[in-house]
């Protein structure tokens, strides 16, 4: 195949179908949340203080699927991982890919998602509240500004 044909092929390739894109987006955004937790815990002293003595394994996942990401918090050491943990202390479970996609892209709110059953949790309620508080800080200080273009 000539170089021109190869280039034409390259630019003519269509993107994946909507479902595949959504699924990949959700997986990547799950990981983004968890790596944000890891990096901010290491670098932001206020967050680090607020997260003190919060040893947990916290996981996002899709219901009945192996799509997820989790963060292991143990003392001062926090590590983000792809995939599913076998024994998390708190799991936020999305009913399906659309529920996760809607919330991760801010087309849905957590309140609505919880009330209407698109999001549920397994684990201890205090862990959920504390994680919610920390996630709120992450979002306001680091994640939302990424989207606010000048």
């Amino acid at each position: 195949m000539g170089i021109i044909d190869r280039l034409n092929n390259l630019f003519a390739t269509p993107p994946p179908d909507e479902d595949t894109r959504k699924r990949a987006s959700v997986e990547c955004l799950f990981y983004l949340l968890m790596i944000a937790y890891e990096v901010v815990h290491r670098g932001d002293s206020r967050f680090n203080d607020d997260a003190r003595d919060f040893d947990n394994v916290i996981q996002y996942k899709l219901e009945n699927e192996d799509v997820g990401a989790y963060v292991v918090i143990k003392g001062d050491r926090v590590t983000a991982h792809r995939g599913i943990h076998s024994n998390p202390t708190l799991t936020l479970i999305f009913r399906d890919i659309d529920a996760a996609y809607g919330l991760l892209t801010m087309q849905d709110t957590q309140f609505d998602a919880l009330v209407f059953g698109r999001l549920k949790y397994e684990g201890r309620l205090p862990s959920l509240f504390r994680f919610g508080y920390l996630s709120n800080y992450l979002q306001d200080e680091y994640l939302l500004p990424l989207n606010n273009k000048r």
Partner: protein, 133 residues
């Protein structure tokens, strides 16, 4: 540690992870990397984060840290420049990076395309993120 450098570290790792994921499902990415046996280094100076991609046999593997003698080096001279580039506020940092990789123009351009594709997955509509808060 400043907020910008923390944000850059989050973005760098998220983008590298995204590239490794979408190489499995996005034909556009697969076609670009199908015959590559390549290592691409990202680094933020002076003391910022670094990560590299090992691309071979149609797979992209992401590692934190640095590697010796990568084929392409995308080095940002400051966290601010990396932040502006990763958040698409400025393309100016690219000129310096392009100049330093002048011997690999195709690899450089294709890497930029890969980064654009990764961006499609990380900010698919209104963007990131409200889960858990």
């Amino acid at each position: 540690m400043g907020k910008k450098i923390i944000s850059v570290e989050i973005l760098l790792y998220a983008i590298c992870n995204t590239l490794s994921e979408i190489a499995k499902v996005d034909e556009r990415v697969r076609r670009i990397i199908e015959n590559w046996d390549t290592e691409i280094q990202f680094k933020v100076q002076p003391d910022g984060p670094s990560a590299y991609l090992q691309i071979e046999r149609g797979r992209i593997i992401f590692y934190k840290g640095e590697i010796n003698n990568p084929d392409l080096k995308m080095t940002f001279s400051s966290a601010e420049k990396a932040y502006d580039f990763f958040t698409r506020r400025s393309l100016l940092p690219l000129f310096g990076i392009a100049f330093k990789n002048i011997r690999h123009p195709i690899l450089f351009l294709q890497t930029l395309r890969l980064l654009l594709f990764a961006g499609e997955y990380l900010s698919p509509s209104k963007g990131i993120v409200s889960a858990g808060s």
